[in-house]
Every structure is written in C-alpha cells, then in structure tokens.
C-alpha cells in the first residue's frame, strides 16, 4: 500500500523557489530516505509535508486522503509525524513532560503508559533523566528524546529530519540501529532525511536524491549505494 504520495510539489520562501517539483512515494512498512547536500531542500520537503510550509502547487496524498493545505495539528492527528531538524525539544520542560506532549493528541491513558515503558526500553538513557530539563541533555540524548516524543503520538508515518546531525559518532550508530529497530519491530513506516547518505542508504529500502529542489535520482537503496554517481557525490569514494 502506498502510504504517502507526493506529486510535483513546489514551495517558495518569498521569491526563493526552494522546491521545484518534488515527487516521491513511501510504501507502508518501509524506510525511505531522502538524501542530498546541505541546502538541497530536504527540510523544506518535510516542512511542506507536515503543513508548516504552504504549497505553491502540487498535491500530497496521505493514506488515500489529500492533505495539502490542511492545518498542521490536523495532519498530526491523521498520523503523519514530523520529527524536525535540530530536535526541537521543549528545553525548559522535563524529559517526562516532553514525552507526554508527544502523546498530546491521544486520550488512552493506559496505552500512553505502556508506550512510555516501550520508549524507556528503546532509550534507557531517557529513563534515567526523566525529571531533568530537556535543554540540559546532550545532543544525542535530545535526539533520542525527540524520536521518543514522536513515537508517543503513535504515528502511521514517522518523518525524521537529520537525526545524526551534530551527534557524537558513537551515538550516530546507535540512533540508526534504533531507527531500523523501530521499523522492524513496530512496523513503523519511516521517511528519513539525511546528509549521512552512507548510513541512511544502509538501513533504507528505497532512496531519493535531492539537488537544488529537484529529485535527480531514485531507486532501491542498495542500488543507489552502488551507483558510481552517488558514490562520487555523497559517499566520498
């Protein structure tokens, strides 16, 4: 089943034409990665999908429903969750309060409780820091919190924007392993935006390459990882 179908979307920042016709598909249960250099338009794509940015033209279908132009808070309720670049945890609130805000749209108290336990298992470091202000966590811990907070909303599709950005190399491995685990164990569909193409293509099923607001290449992740153009431009070979 196609969960997300993005058709030829254009986005402008004032006079800047940031997305020049991006199309992509995400099949249920898969990890799809969107890679590209800094400034290619990856974050802009996610911000348009979650409704933070208005579309100039184009269409977005999510689980058979058109969501272009829908307000952000309704798109979240439809099950599309955007874990933004730079983590954006609520710095002055505790780790626990951040996780609870992730479940803002839910009312099933017992479900929320068991999901919290699940997050603690996924990220034991968070459990040790529940009453700490989120702003005092390390970058890697904040990223875990941001992912955990997103999972608390029980999304149908999770969009992650550069979860490896500014994180200690050891933790990067751990974060990618966890993303793969969430996909495998929770059957979570994931759209992963990354500059770290090497790691992203390793865990993804499918990939898209973005350059200056356009998709220039797409295909199976393993094929992309072997493609000489990708190797030269993004994998440092």
């Amino acid at each position: 089943m196609t969960m997300l179908d993005v058709q030829d979307i254009h986005v402008h920042y004032g006079a800047i034409h940031a997305l020049k016709g991006v199309s992509l598909k995400v099949e249920a249960g898969t990890i799809v990665t969107l890679i590209g250099a800094n400034g290619a338009g990856k974050s802009t794509t996610l911000r348009a999908l979650s409704g933070l940015l208005p579309l100039s033209t184009g269409a977005i279908d999510f689980i058979g429903q058109s969501i272009g132009g829908r307000p952000v808070h309704k798109i979240v309720r439809d099950g599309l969750c955007h874990c933004p670049e730079g983590r954006k945890v609520f710095p002055q609130l505790t780790v626990k309060a951040n996780l609870e805000l992730g479940a803002y749209i839910r009312h099933d108290k017992t479900g929320i409780k068991s999901d919290l336990e699940q997050i603690y298992q996924l990220f034991p470091r968070l459990k040790e820091r529940l009453s700490q202000a989120a702003g005092t966590l390390s970058g890697g811990e904040q990223q875990m919190l941001a992912i955990g907070r997103s999972l608390m909303g029980r999304p149908r599709l999770l969009m992650l924007d550069e979860p490896s950005l500014g994180i200690a190399p050891l933790l990067v491995q751990e974060i990618f392993r966890t993303i793969k685990k969430i996909n495998a164990e929770q059957k979570m569909t994931i759209l992963l935006v990354e500059q770290n193409a090497h790691m992203a293509l390793k865990i993804a099923d499918h990939g898209y390459v973005l350059e200056t607001g356009k998709v220039v290449l797409s295909g199976k992740a393993s094929d992309l990882a072997a493609d000489p153009r990708i190797k030269a431009a993004y994998l440092g070979h």
């Binding site: 979240v76 609520f90 002055q92 805000l101 803002y104 202000a133």
Partner: protein, 294 residues
C-alpha cells in the same frame, strides 16, 4: 515601624492587582512575544461591565458581577487578537506592536462613547471599615482583604491551569517553541486565543477590584497598565512567578515612596524602576532562570 507595616499592607493590596494585570502581559509575551499595550484597557472594560451589572441589574451578587466582568474582558481580548493581531503575525514585530497601541486608544475612546467620560462608581459592596491589628498599630480595610484574598485565589487557579491541565501543557509548549508545539498536534491558534482570554479575564477581575475601591473611567487602565507592564519587566517578562513578585514589589515600592517621600513621586518611581531594570538586568529578576515560562 507600624507606619512601615501599614505602607507594606497597602502596597501588597495594590501590588496584588498589579500582579494580576502583569500576569496577562507576561503570558501574552511568553506566547507570541508581543507587549500588548491594550492590556490595561481590558481592565477598564472589566470595570465598566462590573459597574453596569451592579448598578443596572440591582441585586446581582458581587461574585456574579465579577465572573461576568472576567468573561467580558476575556472575550474582548480574544476578539482583539483575532481581528487586530492575528492578521499581522507574519509581519515584522513592529506592525503588531503598533496595532496594540492603536487598539489601546480605540478602546479608551470606545469606553468614552459607550459609558461616557464621567467617572462611575460601584454601589457599596460590603460594610466600609477595617480590621485593626492593635498590637502592630496597623489597619487592613475590608476591601483590601477581599482583593488580597481573591487575588491569591485567582493566582492559584492560574497556576493549576498552567501546570495541571492539558491546555496548560499546550500553553507551556507553545511558549517555548511554537512550531514544535504544532508538530505535537497542538492547535496553537486556539492556545493563543485561550492565553489572551485568561490574561484579560484576570485584568477584568482587577477592574472590578479597582471599581470597588476607586471609581471607573475610560482612562483608568492607563496607570495600572503601565505599572503592571513595569512589574512584568521587573519580574522577567515571560515568567509567571516573576510577574507576581514584580507586581507585589511595584505596589510596595510605590506606597513606600508615596509615604516616606511624596505622593508626587509615586508615578515617576515606576519609570525610574523600569529604566533601572532595563539598564542593570534587562532579563528581570526571574527572566533567564525561570524553569518554566509561559
């Protein structure tokens, strides 16, 4: 000593009203970074609605009039935000700041047209008089006790809303990062409306407190509005405990200055304090350290 205590008590009574108004300034600032210069006018509107209810609808209990005033001021603020501020949200900050000043003048004149420019009084609410604390040689007026007590109740209610309810959690999230809050599924427009409503309803309550002690006129919101603005800055704009402490401090300092120096300086001292705070510690007393701001 007893003189000092008396100034302190008078200061606390006035200061608790400043604190309630300052809470509205600081909540709105915390959530959309706007100094809402029309905030004092919500207090004036609350006072007029209270006077109207008590004078025209004879026999209305004070509690009912208070609730009506709070609702009226709150709804007016929701309308002002919707009509005058929201359309300017994506513009440079100076636009909406200018709009706030315009709304302030507009509401003052609206008050003049609707209610007339002569001062109106509340009917006497409860027996005039005061309780003497003989041993200390100080007097607490009934109305002061009433205002202080109700102010505490309202502040406690606000604390409960902000810290113990779902909409409170949404307010705290929105004040820290509005886009992140939207990504949690929070309808931040609703949260902003709610914040205006709560802040202005507190100001409306103060309008009733003022009306009970003094009289009501279209410009009555200006002085307390300014004092409360300075209180919010002194406490650290964006911080709820800061607004409460700032309000009480300004009330006390005003009364000490008026008592020991001269009442001529009472108004000026507020501005001296503002300049001092802005030049010594612009973040205010609790500005940066406040663990949870709204």
């Amino acid at each position: 000593m007893s003189e000092f205590l008396q100034f302190l008590i008078n200061g606390l009574a006035v200061g608790s009203m400043y604190a309630l108004i300052a809470l509205g300034y600081t909540m709105v600032y915390g959530i959309i970074q706007l100094i809402n210069f029309a905030h004092g006018e919500f207090m004036m509107m609350g006072a007029f609605v209270g006077a109207f209810t008590l004078n025209r609808l004879q026999g209305t209990p004070l509690a009912v009039a208070l609730v009506i005033s709070m609702l009226a001021a709150g709804l007016l603020a929701v309308l002002v935000e919707l009509v005058a501020y929201r359309p300017l949200r994506r513009q440079p900050k100076i636009f909406v700041l200018t709009a706030a000043i315009a709304v302030s003048v507009l509401l003052q004149n609206l008050g003049r047209i609707v209610f007339g420019s002569s001062a109106v009084s509340f009917p006497a609410q409860f027996p005039q008089g005061s309780i003497g604390l003989e041993s200390l040689g100080v007097w607490v007026e009934y109305s002061q006790l009433f205002v202080l007590g109700l102010s505490l109740v309202l502040m406690a209610a606000l604390w409960l809303i902000v810290h113990k309810t779902k909409i409170g959690a949404a307010m705290r999230a929105t004040s820290q990062d509005i886009d992140a809050a939207r990504l949690m599924g929070i309808n931040t427009n609703l949260v902003i409306s709610f914040t205006f409503f709560i802040g202005a309803s507190l100001a409306g309550a103060v309008g009733v407190f003022y009306g009970m002690q003094y009289s009501v006129d279209p410009l009555m919101g200006v002085q307390p509005g300014l004092a409360a603005f300075v209180a919010a800055v002194l406490g650290g704009i964006g911080s709820l405990p800061g607004a409460m402490i700032g309000g009480l401090l300004i009330g006390i300092i005003e009364n000490l200055v008026a008592g020991y120096l001269s009442s001529t300086y009472q108004g000026a001292i507020t501005f001296v304090l503002l300049i001092l705070v802005l030049s010594i510690k612009p973040t205010g007393l609790l500005g940066r350290m406040a663990p949870v701001k709204v």
